[in-house]
């Protein structure tokens, strides 16, 4: 093995990435070549020094605790009471039971989606940089999303409505990219999420709901799923929903 080849393979040797046979051949050369041995030593020293210097930052205890709590697994919901009934139930009731299970499953899936959207909203409010495009102008915010998400949407004119647009950012839900728009109403902040509607989305049996005291309204329009989350009243959320529906029809 020549010195030139040694130098070319030095990184792989120091990183323990050489196959065993080649590493053995490498070490035979090192024992007989002071220049290559010196180079290998320096490379190893640099790697070790980088390892020590690179482990520089430690997460604050408060952050670690917060993360541990947020990653704690959610306790599975108790099975529906109907599921605990004796096996020997009439056939007619079995059909009812199946229907009940389907409803509960869909309800749980919907709750999970609600919870994820609430998480996204809360995370945004807690962030020092809640939006990536900062503008009150819908003609600035909407074009910003071009090329960042696989669809487009209309935003309403807000003059004399009390609502103000703060900006937006790209978010992900169930592996799908979408838009999150942040609005303000009397110092309350509301998130409008827009995703492509898909089969994988839960059947949104109710158009309005509540999660951790946040109010929501959701609807599907022209292949897009809109969800509004905020801590204002249902009627305020509905007013914003109507503005968005009207803009989408234009």
């Amino acid at each position: 093995m020549s010195c030139e080849l040694m130098r070319q393979r030095m990184d792989a040797y120091v990183d323990c990435e050489l196959p065993a046979a080649e590493a053995a051949e490498f070490e035979v050369h090192l024992r007989g070549c002071a220049a290559c041995a010196n180079a290998a030593l320096e490379q190893t020293r640099l790697k070790l020094a980088t390892r020590a210097a690179g482990r520089r930052f430690t997460p604050p205890a408060e952050f670690r605790l917060r993360m541990e709590q947020s990653l704690r697994p959610v306790q599975p919901a108790k099975p529906h009471r109907l599921l605990r009934w004796p096996v020997a139930i009439p056939v007619a009731l079995a059909a009812c039971l199946l229907l009940a299970v389907l409803v509960v499953t869909n309800f749980q899936q919907r709750r999970t989606t609600y919870a994820e959207l609430t998480d996204l909203h809360v995370t945004t409010l807690a962030s020092a940089n809640p939006v990536d495009v900062i503008s009150e102008d819908r003609h600035t915010v909407k074009p910003w999303f071009a090329g960042r998400i696989p669809f487009t949407f209309n935003l309403p004119e807000l003059k004399d409505t009390g609502f103000e647009l703060s900006g937006g950012r790209v978010v992900y839900l169930q592996h799908n990219s979408g838009a999150q728009l942040l609005y303000t109403l009397r110092k309350h902040r509301l998130s409008v999420f827009i995703f492509q509607d898909a089969q994988s989305w839960p059947q949104w049996m109710a158009s309005t709901s509540s999660e951790l005291s946040f109010h929501m309204e959701s609807w599907s329009q022209d292949g897009l799923r809109y969800v509004i989350v905020g801590d204002v009243s249902d009627s305020d959320i509905h007013s914003l929903a109507e503005l968005l529906r009207k803009a989408a029809r234009q």
Binding site: D11, A12, D15, C16, E17, L18, P19, A20, N38, E42, Q43, R45, L46, K47, A49, T50, R51, A52, A53, G54, R55, R56, F57, T58, P59, P60, F63, R64, R66, M67, E68, S70, L71, R72, P73, E116, D119, T123, S127, A128, N129, D132, R148, V170, Y172, L173, Q174, H175
Partner: protein, 183 residues
């Protein structure tokens, strides 16, 4: 060569032990404490939601780092990097200054602070490959998965990154400058 790493378990079991490492990497990526916390938090939430797509038995740290890197690259700070072409990354590495000083003498004088400054001064694509290889001790295969690049590119990028590190440590006047201002 190390055997491929295989990880199985619940999301909590796999992710919590990596929290400190993810935070460290996030700090190096964002160079800001607040942004690093947000990046780790958002990445973990995405990873938790997408845990169904993780193939049990594969390298979990490479999988979650890939999510964090993609999250970073779509963030306000990361977007600044997204337009960087890596085609001309060879140009990022100046040859060491021809001072006639043996490289060994230059390297002998480095200390931890010098290494940290050199790392901070590297362009993002060099910094992250050094961190994953030398700090996280990931295999070339795992780095390839985490960065979504071929192993050959991992090797060449690592080689150039180390050359850039040496140049910075040598204090060459034409050392590569960071692509964004550190905060």
């Amino acid at each position: 060569m190390d055997e491929p790493q295989t990880d199985t378990g619940t999301f909590e079991e796999l992710a919590l032990p990596l929290l400190a490492r993810l935070y460290n990497l996030a700090r190096w990526l964002t160079q800001d404490a607040g942004e690093a916390e947000e990046l780790v938090q958002e990445s973990c939430m995405k990873a938790l939601r997408g845990f169904g797509s993780y193939r049990q038995g594969t390298n979990f740290s490479a999988w979650i780092y890939r999510i964090m890197r993609n999250t970073f690259l779509t963030s306000r700070t990361g977007l600044k990097y997204s337009t960087i072409s890596l085609d001309d990354e060879e140009n990022d590495v100046p040859e060491p200054a021809a001072t006639g000083t043996p490289e060994s003498a230059l390297l002998a004088s480095f200390d931890q602070q010098a290494i940290q400054s050199a790392l901070e001064g590297l362009p993002l694509h060099f910094r992250e490959v050094i961190l994953l290889c030398d700090v996280e001790e990931m295999s070339y295969q795992a780095i390839s998965e985490a960065l979504a690049i071929p192993i050959g590119t991992v090797m060449s990028r690592l080689s150039r990154a180390r050359r850039a590190m040496r140049t910075q440590l040598a204090g060459a006047p034409n050392s590569p400058r960071p692509r964004s201002a550190s905060r």
